[in-house]
């Protein structure tokens, strides 16, 4: 689905993060973990649209409102942050597979590193809706990298979140995966089969989650990132390696992913 949207609101929720609300011509059921490609500039530099997780997409006050949360990291996101109410943007999506919870999983640990919370929160809200039990771990370098859950419309989750920062400025001092490891260990080995982990964050984090999941015998699903040109499967630019008979095969993060079972993903070092 390729269409235009109009900015309703585009406000900072932290030093580096913005929450953008866009009015869209329709809404469409989406699976948390799916994303949209967004372009919001004239001219050809930057050229390509940018991928962002769908944070929410609902009817609000009679309008179809798509939300994304983004961090300013480069030219495209700088342009996004300068947009005003009424400005038009181009949107392609929902795209990707999203996170479909395994039928036999009853309890979840959701782990988000850095901007990863923008996929974790929609997954969490969805699971909460289904009445599932869950723990959320959010981590970053420093407190400034994590906007308060309330500022991004996730107040209802605040009680479930454990924060961790590398510099200790918020919550625990340490890595998301350190907290994750403890949380997993707290679960009796016998009951781990009821659990599933969903993780979204930098590659180093996800590759540690893969190792943990194998060691601790707990299912894990990883939401990957990669450079994307098209976002809908036609350029073959975004592939990662997944295990396949006879070694590996290249699959597209934008189509077969972004969410993969941790078993299948092969991280090159």
């Amino acid at each position: 689905m390729f269409y235009s949207g109009r900015i309703i609101d585009n406000l900072p929720v932290s030093d580096k993060h913005y929450l953008m609300k866009v009015s869209t011509p329709f809404i469409q059921p989406f699976i948390p973990g799916q994303f949209v490609m967004i372009r919001a500039w004239q001219g050809t530099d930057p050229l390509l649209p940018r991928p962002f997780a769908i944070y929410s997409w609902d009817v609000v006050g009679g309008q179809n409102v798509l939300q994304i949360v983004y961090k300013i990291v480069g030219r495209g996101t700088v342009i996004l942050s300068g947009l005003h109410r009424g400005d038009e943007i181009q949107i392609n999506g929902p795209l990707g597979n999203g996170f479909i919870e395994p039928e036999d999983a009853e309890k979840f640990i959701l782990a988000g590193g850095g901007i990863g919370f923008s996929s974790v929160f929609p997954v969490a809200l969805h699971l909460k809706g289904l009445g599932k039990e869950m723990k959320i771990i959010l981590g970053a370098k420093t407190d400034k990298d994590i906007p308060p859950a309330s500022s991004v419309g996730a107040k209802s989750l605040e009680g479930d979140v454990t924060y961790t920062t590398e510099d200790g400025s918020m919550g625990f001092r340490g890595l998301v995966t350190e907290v994750l490891e403890k949380e997993i260990e707290d679960i009796g080995t016998g009951s781990r089969a009821e659990w599933a982990v969903f993780a979204c964050g930098p590659t180093e984090m996800l590759s540690t989650v893969k190792v943990l999941s194998a060691e601790k015998k707990i299912r894990a699903f990883l939401s990957l990132e990669n450079f994307m040109a098209c976002g809908f499967g036609v350029c073959l630019g975004c592939v990662v390696k997944v295990a396949a008979p006879g070694g590996y095969q290249h699959v597209r993060v934008c189509m077969e992913g972004p969410v993969f079972s941790s078993e299948e993903v092969i991280f090159d070092d």
């Binding site: 050229l47 990669n226 450079f227 809908f232 350029c235 630019g237």
Partner: protein, 303 residues
């Protein structure tokens, strides 16, 4: 009545707007966005005799008004294409051109032989921007003789329309164009990507898994226009213009320069409906300017 149809070899295409190989998947992906049977032709991702895994990542990177890609010609192989994708494309009523490549001329011929039997393939586009393993990796498209041989070998296997797609990484594009025309090409498409490279200063590392990649997008349009102009002055077979076409005005410029048809590449990533919009734009331009046939417009550039 305006007639947008164009002839290349024995084939007649309903209009001059084609999709560029590698930017349009196997075509079917775009049927979510518009009716792909409207296009003059859908040119699918490059096919080889066996499936190919392609290059390790990163495979793409954005540059100023362009992008580099080093996909490594990943594809499902011609046989899977014929059995799994082609029926789908036929149901969608798409006019299909198969883009073909190989590591030696025999591989091109083998793919052509399989496609010769395939119903629903209107023509073949030979991508000669690939290293010739028999000649120490020199790209076919940089060697007039090797390029001619590929064309001849393919022609032996099929009577379908053969378009040869030229590499721009050459000193004299007209020399290679003339060579493939002499070897029997029914049409010539150009340009493929310019060879480039990107570097990550922070990591002190080249970004692409393959180190070098192909530059496409608006950045290369002036080079593409120049080569289309030069080649269409030199050969008499139809020329298909490619390179940085983002809208109908770009497309019409290529036609003025001598292109009978055009291909839309990188622009598809930005707007998946762009090729249909370009087609509509050309149609309205012809209406407005009262141009009755493509041939009345192609190559009418004043210099």
């Amino acid at each position: 009545m305006i007639d947008l149809s164009v002839c290349i070899g024995k084939s007649t295409f309903k209009n001059p707007v084609f999709s560029a190989s590698g930017t349009f998947g196997y075509g079917v992906e775009y049927s979510d966005f518009f009716d792909i049977s409207r296009l003059g032709a859908v040119i699918v991702k490059g096919l080889s005799i066996e499936p190919v895994k392609g290059n390790p990542g990163p495979r793409i990177f954005e540059t100023a008004s362009g992008m580099l890609n080093a996909i490594g010609l990943q594809n499902i192989g011609v046989k899977n294409f014929v059995s799994e994708i082609l029926p789908h494309l036929r149901r969608l009523d798409a006019t299909v051109i198969a883009n073909v490549y190989g590591k030696m001329e025999e591989e091109y011929a083998a793919v052509a032989a399989i496609l010769d039997d395939a119903e629903g393939v209107e023509g073949l586009e030979l991508n000669i921007s690939c290293p010739n393993v028999k000649k120490g990796g020199i790209v076919f498209g940089q060697d007039p003789l090797a390029a001619s041989k590929v064309v001849q070998a393919v022609k032996k296997e099929t009577d379908k329309t053969i378009i040869v797609k030229l590499s721009p990484n050459v000193s004299d594009i007209t020399e290679i164009a003339a060579a493939v025309e002499d070897a029997g090409a029914d049409g010539i498409s150009l340009i493929n990507t310019l060879l480039g490279m990107v570097i990550d200063l922070d990591k002190k590392k080249s970004i692409l898994g393959n180190v070098m990649g192909g530059l496409s997008g608006p950045a290369i349009k002036p080079v593409a226009l120049r080569m289309v102009y030069q080649v269409s002055q030199r050969v008499s077979v139809p020329v298909i213009g490619i390179g940085g076409i983002m809208n109908e005005r770009d497309a019409l410029e290529f036609m003025l320069a001598g292109a009978t048809a055009i291909q839309v590449g990188t622009a598809n990533f930005i707007n998946p409906r762009i090729s249909e919009e370009i087609l509509d734009g050309i149609q309205s331009y012809f209406d407005r300017e009262e141009i009755e046939r493509v041939a009345d417009f192609t190559g009418t550039l004043k210099t």
